[in-house]
Symmetry: C2
Subunit: 205 residues, 2 copies
DNA sequence: AGGCTACCGTACCAATGGGTACGGTGCAAG
DNA sequence: CTTGCACCGTACCCATTGGTACGGTAGCCT
């Protein structure tokens, strides 16, 4: 293999460019108003090429979602070593920043809007996002429990508690447009607070 | 006024019937696939009447959302007297039952799907749902604090903590279709657990 | 050079659905 | 009985958009 060390195998850059443009328009317009023609035009491609490569609108955006979720997940899970107080705070800030991003909001809106017709987006999003994140964080929490720094019964529930304390219903309210995306200070405050509360519930000291 | 004591003033029952049918189809089909013709047909009305009464699709469903949210809210907030341990558990069960209902899921999906185009649904939903619920629960929590049974700084944040512990990210996952609606046992377990954790954080004893 | 492949741009097709117009009907007031 | 209003049912208009077809061109292989 002549690949540079840590690139995915054989990704056509032109394909990535198209996916990027599709994400861009999804972010700006929402799924319903995003048209294949608009994607083709901005990517300086033809509709026919889009259909040849991706089959249809749904499959195109399925790939957009997978790619974006993978990338977000990778960013989110950087640096999961250390004491819970610092790891949780950092993870919390990263997660809230992610959930407040235009990209995340657009993707979640698309998945939710299409769910009645077809749960494919939602499932792809879950599989590439929340599930992987959850698995890793749960493993981390178990490690900390084994090291005697935390106490809980069910690590999955403990993790969901942390997420709940952190996010509350802010994500849904951002998705509905009831509140604007969280600002940096609010994010920091929430991460700090959720960490403190979590440790009060499950920390040993 | 010759109204019976606690009915809304002068609500045309025919109008209510149409709103009910619209909600029914919204629940079955989702907003995008719900057509004005389908509503008219099932309500044995004509499209022209729908447009004469409601103006357009958006305003029709705006009213659907308001009416439904008001009704849900009323059910949710019944019986808010007593000790936190029992009130919170009951409220938690009610809220989770509500959020797991087909109606709530359909309405939230509609609000989120339309948010990029127009935040009207989301704002109506927030104003008639979450905001009123939150205000009442916050007042309750403050009362309990004044009675010496709870301790916290910011009642709004305390309330959001409870909701977070209760719901976690289950609502978003139901909306995306990643998980099916919560069952009765899961609801009871979550309400119990959230109450216990909340009291561990904020209870005096 | 000749031809093949991939792709661009655009025109086209067909379905869908919001919104309007209109003729017909039942009912209530005068 | 007559008039008129509210409403039903249906036909219609038109903009949008997913998806297809096709002619033209640029580059690559032989």
């Amino acid at each position: 293999m002549s690949n540079p060390p840590d690139s995915e195998p054989e990704i056509d850059p032109r394909r990535l460019e198209i996916l990027g443009v599709a994400m861009e328009i999804l972010r700006e317009q929402g799924y319903a108003k995003t048209t294949m023609l608009a994607v083709a035009k901005r990517a300086r491609a033809s509709k026919e090429t889009l259909y040849a490569w991706f089959g249809n609108k749904q499959r195109l955006f399925d790939e957009v979602i997978r790619a974006k979720a993978d990338r977000m997940n990778r960013d989110l899970l950087a640096g999961l070593d250390g004491a819970p107080a610092v790891v949780l705070r950092r993870f919390g800030e990263n997660l809230l920043t992610l959930l407040s991003s235009d990209d995340s909001i657009a993707i979640n809106r698309a998945a939710i809007a299409e769910a009645p017709r077809d749960p494919a987006f939602g499932q792809a999003l879950a599989a590439h996002g929340r599930q992987r994140t959850g698995a890793l964080m749960i493993r981390y929490l178990e490690g900390q429990r084994d090291a005697g720094r935390l106490t809980f019964e069910d690590p999955a529930r403990a993790f969901e508690s942390f997420v709940g304390l952190l996010v509350g219903d802010a994500q849904v309210r951002m998705l509905t447009g009831a509140i604007p995306p969280l600002g940096a200070e609010e994010i920091a405050a929430r991460a700090e607070r959720a960490t403190v509360l979590f440790l009060r519930l499950y920390g040993n000291s």
